[in-house]
Amino acid sequence: MTTKASRIVDKVRGSRVWRSVFRSGTGSSTLHRALAIQQNVFLHLFATKVRKRMVRFSSTWYLGTLTLGTFLILVITGILLMLYYHPSVPQAYADMKDLQFVVSSGLFLRNLHRWSAQLMVFLVFAHMFKVFYRGAYRTPREFNWVIGIVLLLITLLLSYTGYLLPWDQLAFWAITVGSNLSSAVPLVGSKIHFLLLGGNQVNANALLRFYVLHCVILPLAAILFIAVHFWRIRKDGGLYVQQSEPKTQAATDGTLPAKEVK
């Protein structure tokens, strides 16, 4: 049974169609497995080889991966919610209620979106605390920490812009208060407030602007920075492991971070 199944798998992997898509070959040698990572557009962000202790649960608690998981859930459920949601006044509120009471699985999807959003903010903070207390932000990973800060801001802005979309009293006043914070910026505060809302008060323009920010601009920015964030893990010498880089070993270590060009 096992041999028959593996024979079928081998046959598929050896077929011309498969080989035209995955060019790393059918073997299971270290080279083949490394090529499978290196020649894949998504996986090539990551290292072809990692140390076992880097991927142990105890070293990271998988908090970054879990954050990515919530982000993917949010993208999928968010796109589905967009199919029933009109960002207009007062239709937005009715659509939100329809999602809860009329659309099949609408309540489930909306709650999944909402709870994943809460969880993502929690996980981002947990991830940052874990990185901070392990000292994993230190050289040569300091730039990846900065990208992480940018991702934190994007996460919070996604939360904030999404908060207006139900168009209920809570949303209205939260955005009234929140957008007024921008008025405190010296000199250009009221201009920023005006551009953010597309008017002087939280209105149809503000709803549409927050919708576009929430569904297009901020997710694209997030995807871009997530890609750089992951790629930098490889470039900075893989996931940080305590005592993984003793100075004597570093000279022979094949996974050294890219050297600064002098």
Binding site: V177, N180, N200, Q201, N205
Partner: protein, 156 residues
């Protein structure tokens, strides 16, 4: 023997300057264009000028709130005045508390007197007085876009 021109008249440097200069102008133009595009020229917002009705409708020593326009119309012994009901802290709508005789904000606990002065809370400024006038028909008109110095009562 041809003499070499000084470096600053080099043809390559000249074209580099022209190129960078025009890119800079284009970038500045893009910033202006984007800013203009993002600022709406027509707004479908309620008018800043509110007709609150006849002065006789307001009893002496009364505070009347108009929730829709976010203003208080106060009739004191000295005369009429209008006060913005929008909290100067972060823009929440305040409410008049008849029993305590104060204006209170539900969001972050700022409290104001009837004349808009702050009693306590995070509000950085007093509630502004708004320009009031009487129309030809004898109605009280409040212009929410014009603040006036406090204690300028409208006597009728």
């Amino acid at each position: 023997m041809t003499q070499k021109l000084p470096a600053e008249f080099d043809r390559r440097a000249f074209f580099t300057k022209i190129g960078l200069g025009s890119l800079g102008i284009a970038a500045a133009g893009t910033v202006v264009f984007t800013y203009e595009f993002l600022s709406p020229n027509v707004l479908f917002e309620p008018s800043a000028i509110v007709n609150v009705g006849k002065p006789e409708n307001f009893a002496v020593n009364s505070v009347t709130m108009d929730v829709n326009s976010g203003i208080y119309l106060v009739r004191a012994d000295e005369g009429f005045f209008a006060l913005s009901a929008v909290c100067t802290h972060l823009g929440c709508l305040t409410a008049w508390n008849q029993d305590l005789g104060i204006i209170a904000c539900p969001c972050h606990g700022s409290k104001f007197t009837r004349t808009g002065e702050k009693i306590e809370g995070p509000a950085p400024k007093p509630l502004p007085w708004l320009k009031t006038s009487v129309s030809d028909e004898g109605d009280l008109i409040v212009d929410r876009s014009i603040d006036i110095p406090p204690l300028q009562y409208l006597r009728i």
